[in-house]
């Protein structure tokens, strides 16, 4: 053992957050969120099979304010993970790694997933109020 601890390499907290790093972390967070969403989706499917009573009960939970908030989160997670995933697949072809390209595709993914989330929210809101 050395007399004093060896110096460590710089860790996460000393870096300024570049967009690529934030988006990489967000990709993982939304992925875990969607895995949890799978539990809700499974519950919804079982509720359909269970009959009208169980379906209405599950839909009441989803239509409650906290339910809608979580649904909004899952919708954003879905679109973000989808678009960011396509970005990763594109990277797998070995292209798009230039600094300007990385930043541009990153902001495109963020903006695109927000717009698509708002679109779904609008379709659902319009459906509920027609």
């Amino acid at each position: 053992m050395p007399a004093r601890p060896r110096p460590l390499s710089p860790h996460l907290q000393v870096y300024r957050w570049p967009i690529s790093m934030a988006l990489s972390i967000l990709h993982r967070i939304t992925g875990v969120g969607l895995a949890l969403g799978l539990l809700a989706f499974c519950t919804w499917l079982m509720a359909i099979a269970g009959g009208e009573q169980s379906y209405d009960m599950v839909m009441r939970v989803i239509a409650s304010p906290p339910g809608l908030l979580v649904l909004l989160g899952w919708t954003f997670s879905f679109f973000y993970h989808l678009m960011s995933g396509v970005r990763h697949l594109f990277w797998d072809s070995g292209r798009g790694f230039e600094r300007a390209q990385r930043v541009a595709s990153g902001w495109f993914v963020v903006g695109g997933s927000m717009v698509l989330t708002l679109c779904v929210g609008w379709v659902l809101w319009r459906g509920a109020h027609s």
Binding site: V32, A35, L38, A49, G51
Partner: protein, 129 residues
């Protein structure tokens, strides 16, 4: 000159023992999920309403239940691959890691099995509980 055996070079597994299989499976399932999840979302959003009758009638259509079966299968598979990496990255200690991965696998099979069973019940017209 490489000290690796010809078989070792062909398998390309290295010390991790399974090479690129996990990474590749994640990519393949992600490509499959692009059309499948978009189909699911689009179908649900274009339904005239989301009440019980409409949703059940839609899910009971052969094309809907078939595609829903495929979607949930690939979703569960992709989710298991992804969350396993998260557990491998953040759970330390061999024992806890192995137990967590085992529980994760069981949970995914449970969720997948329950979902498939629910879709099949609707597809084959089993009524209620």
């Amino acid at each position: 000159m490489s000290l690796r055996s010809p078989l070792g070079r062909v398998l390309g597994a290295g010390s991790a023992k399974d090479g690129t299989a996990h990474w590749w499976a994640e990519r393949v399932s992600s490509v499959a999920l692009i059309p499948l999840t978009l189909w699911l979302l689009f179908s649900l959003l274009t339904l005239p309403a989301l009440d019980y009758e409409t949703v059940r009638t839609w899910l009971a259509l052969p094309i809907s239940s078939f595609l829903a079966l495929l979607t949930i299968t690939v979703m569960v598979y992709h989710s298991f691959l992804g969350t396993s990496v998260v557990v491998e990255d953040y759970v330390h200690g061999t024992g806890t890691k192995v137990v967590s991965l085992l529980l994760l696998r069981f949970l995914h099979v449970l969720v997948g099995g329950a979902s498939l069973f629910a879709i099949l019940r609707v597809a084959f017209g089993s009524q209620g509980l």
